[in-house]
Every structure is written in C-alpha cells, then in structure tokens.
Subunit: 105 residues, 2 copies
C-alpha cells in the first residue's frame, strides 16, 4: 500500500540525510568504506522491491560520494532529487539542507 | 536537541522493523551476512553519539539474529524494548509486530 511505502521512504531519507549531516568533515579511509558499504547494503536490503531496484540502478549511475561531509550531503540531496523527479515531486533546494537536518546530538 | 533525536530514532526504528518484516523467511548465507553487516555499520554511523554507543554495547550483548525473518523481527523488537526500558518507555508487545510493520510493496 502506498501510505506504508511513503512512510518508509520518508523514514529512510531522514536517516540518510541526518547521517550525511553528521558524517566527518574529513573522513578516514575506513569511515569512507563503512559509509559506502552501508549505502550499498541498504540498496540491497531496502524493503520495497521496486524502490530497491531503482536505488541500485541509481547507485551505478551516481556512486556515493564519501570524500567529505559536504560531498556526501550533496550526493544524498541529489539522489533524493532524482527520485523526486521520477515521482513528479518538486526539486529540493540543496542549499537549504543544513537548516533542515539536525540530529540533536 | 531532543526533538531531532526522537525523530531520528523513530525513522530508524521504522526502517529496521520494516526491513525485518520483509527479510527472507529463510535467508541465504549471503543475505544473512548482508543484514548483519548493515546493522553493525548502522551502529557505527548512527548520527547520535550517545545512542551509537548504547547501540554498539547492545549489539555485543545481543548480537543480531539473522537466521530467519521471524528471528530478525523478534530480535529487532527485543532490542527496541531494551532502549524503551532505558528511556522509561512502555514495553511493546512483540506479538503485534506484524500488524504494525507493513511496507506496501
Ligand atoms: C532510496 C529510495 C528509493 C525510493 N524509490 C521509490 C520508488 O521507486 N517509487 C516510490 O513510489 N517511492 C520511492 N521511494 C519513496 C519516495 O522517495 C518518498 O519517500 C515517498 O514518496 C514519500 O514522499 P514525501 O513527499 O513524503 O517526501 P520524501 O521524498 O520522503 O522526503 C521527505 C522530506 O525530505 C525533504 N526533502 C525532499 N527532497 C529532498 C532532497 N533532495 N534532499 C534532502 N531533503 C529532501 C523534504 O522536507 C521532504 O518532506 C524511495 C525512497 C528511497 C529512500
Ligand atoms: C539504535 C537506537 C538507539 C537509540 N538510543 C537512544 C539513546 O541512547 N537515548 C535516547 O534518548 N534515544 C535513543 N534512541 C531514540 C529512541 O529509541 C526513540 O526513537 C525516541 O526516543 C522516540 O521515541 P518514541 O516514543 O517516539 O517511539 P520510538 O521508540 O521511536 O518507537 C517508534 C514506534 O515504534 C513502535 N515500537 C515501540 N517499541 C517497539 C518495539 N519494541 N518493537 C517494534 N516497534 C516498537 C511504536 O509504535 C512506537 O511509536 C535510539 C534509537 C535507536 C534507533
């Protein structure tokens, strides 16, 4: 059902963007590998078959950018915008990212 | 701030429980390894320092159970209940899990 799919999507984007907003400004190689692998595993395990397929295809065309917090945040925003476009949603202005995602740590 | 931390927590639990509800009934070794690794990476990358520490400690004491959909669902519910208890929240009745988490795939 569409409501469950949308709720799952909202939850996942929230987690991903918040992770990006707290990712190290300058990550180590090990931190980069961990994030990259987490994203690829997410695309395999994502519990919506249609979305998971789109997600995996998107990762091939737009590999995760993990070299810095800014790079990862921009990447997350831009792949979310690709999904937005596919679903006929409005493009999100990535310059406003840091106002939206705060983790309260 | 506490609102952001709570929203992040709700999003993450939603993703985890929904993943568990769609995890293979009988997973392959490869699917088991993927899920286990995803959970461990999540505990490293989780963007709330205090929570990530608790999460990592909890994984040591209660390693992810990935042998079946039922095992993973029960495990997710029980670790969520451990966090509930620590935060003074009500215990969730794990027998109602399948009524709550539907992905709409
Ligand atoms: C990896 C992935 C793949 C998906 N594939 C599909 C699919 O194939 N088919 C399908 O029907 N659904 C898919 N979804 C779900 C879909 O993207 C939405 O989550 C869902 O439709 C609910 O949309 P929403 O309008 O509530 O806002 P969402 O798109 O869930 O966004 C939540 C909030 O994030 C903010 N936001 C919006 N755009 C951005 C951005 N670019 N960067 C940062 N923040 C932003 C806004 O505040 C928005 O309200 C997918 C979700 C994920 C995580
Ligand atoms: C791994 C992890 C560690 C965390 N550690 C901390 C911490 O150390 N300190 C802190 O302040 N916060 C922590 N949090 C956040 C905290 O668990 C809550 O998410 C947050 O307090 C919001 O709580 P809530 O009452 O809205 O419901 P949540 O606990 O977020 O639960 C969301 C919904 O899930 C359902 N639910 C409740 N219990 C279960 C269960 N056992 N199984 C399945 N579904 C259930 C209910 O419908 C509930 O409304 C952590 C979150 C995660 C994911």
């Amino acid at each position: 059902n569409a409501t469950a799919k949308a709720e799952l999507g909202r939850a996942t984007w929230k987690l991903l963007h918040t992770m990006a907003s707290r990712y190290p400004v300058i990550p180590t190689q090990d931190e980069r590998a961990a994030m990259k692998q987490w994203i690829f595993l997410l695309s395999r395990l994502y519990p919506c078959g249609e979305c998971a397929e789109h997600f995996q295809q998107m990762l091939k065309e737009h590999p995760p950018q993990t070299s810095s917090r800014a790079a990862l945040s921009d990447w997350s925003c831009s792949v979310h915008n690709i999904v937005n476009a596919r679903l006929g949603k409005k493009e999100f202005d990535c310059r406003t990212l840091s106002d939206v995602y705060k983790c309260g740590c």
